[in-house]
C-alpha cells in the first residue's frame, strides 16, 4: 500500500531557529513530491520536486529530494511566527494525477 510518512508530527521552536521537516514515502510509480503549507483551510503550494539532489529554494525555505532513499526534507531558516502552520508532504502517482498526502507536521514558532 502506498504511503507517505512525515516527522515529527509536531514541533515548537523559537523565532530565529532553523527547522528541518522530514517526509518519507513508499509509493509505486513515483512522479513527484510536493510540499504545502496549511494555515487555515487551504494548503498553499510551496515546492514540487522531481529530481534527486536538486535543491529548490524560496526565501528562507528550501527542499531537496532523495529518490534513492525515498525521502525529502523541508528546511526553514530564521523562523518567524508567520511560519506557524501545518506542513504537508504529498507524492504524485505517475500517470494518475493522484496525490497521496502525509499526516503533516504542525509547526509552532514562538515569539
Amino acid at each position: 500500500e502506498d504511503k507517505v510518512v512525515q516527522s515529527p508530527l509536531s514541533l515548537v521552536v523559537h523565532e530565529g531557529d532553523t527547522v528541518t521537516l522530514n517526509c518519507s514515502y513508499e509509493v509505486t510509480n513515483f512522479r513527484s513530491l510536493l510540499w504545502y503549507k496549511q494555515e487555515k483551510k487551504a494548503p498553499t503550494f510551496l515546492f514540487m520536486l522531481t529530481s534527486s539532489g536538486i535543491e529548490k529554494k524560496s526565501g528562507r525555505l528550501s527542499s531537496i529530494l532523495d529518490k534513492k532513499e525515498l525521502f525529502s526534507i523541508l528546511n526553514i531558516t530564521a523562523t518567524q511566527t508567520g511560519d506557524s502552520a501545518i506542513y504537508l508532504c504529498a507524492v504524485e502517482v505517475r500517470g494518475t494525477y493522484k496525490y497521496i498526502f502525509g499526516t503533516g507536521t504542525r509547526l509552532k514558532v514562538l515569539a
Binding site: 513527484s32 510536493l34 504545502y36 487555515k40 483551510k41 487551504a42 494548503p43 498553499t44 503550494f45 514540487m48 522531481t50 504537508l88 504529498a90 504524485e92 494525477y97 493522484k98 496525490y99 498526502f101 502525509g102 499526516t103 503533516g104
Partner: protein
C-alpha cells in the same frame, strides 16, 4: 497558478440533510479534484472530476454519498448526501493547473454536522 473559489466557506447542517459545495476556477482546467480533511487528519482524495465524463471515486467513497457534477471546464460541485456527524470535515477542491501539473487548492468548506 489558478484562482479558485468555493461556496459556502462554512456551514452547520442537520443530520440526514444534504449540502452541495461549489468550486469555481478562473481558468479552464481539465482535471478537478475533491478532498476531505477530517479533524486532525491529512487530506484524503474523494474523487477526480473530469469534464464530460463520470467522476472517478477513490476506495471508500461512492457516488450515492458524494455525487459530483462537472458541467464545464471551470466549475464543479460536490454534494454530501444524507449527512451524519462523521461527515464533519473540511472539503477542498483542487485543480492541476501549474506548468508541472502541481495542484492548487480552493479555500475550503468547513462542514459541521449536528
Amino acid at each position: 497558478s489558478a484562482v479558485i473559489s468555493q461556496k459556502p466557506s462554512r456551514d452547520i447542517c442537520q443530520r440526514g440533510t444534504s449540502l452541495t459545495i461549489q468550486c469555481q476556477v478562473d481558468s479552464q482546467v481539465t482535471m478537478m479534484f475533491w478532498y476531505r480533511q477530517q479533524p486532525g487528519q491529512s487530506l484524503t482524495l474523494i474523487a477526480t472530476a473530469n469534464q464530460g465524463s463520470e467522476a472517478t471515486y477513490e476506495s471508500g467513497f461512492v457516488i450515492d454519498k458524494f455525487p459530483i457534477s462537472r458541467p464545464n471546464l471551470t466549475f464543479s460541485t460536490l454534494t454530501v448526501s444524507n449527512m451524519s456527524p462523521e461527515d464533519s470535515s473540511i472539503y477542498l477542491c483542487s485543480v492541476a493547473a501549474g506548468g508541472d501539473r502541481e495542484q492548487f487548492f480552493g479555500p475550503g468548506t468547513r462542514l459541521t454536522v449536528l
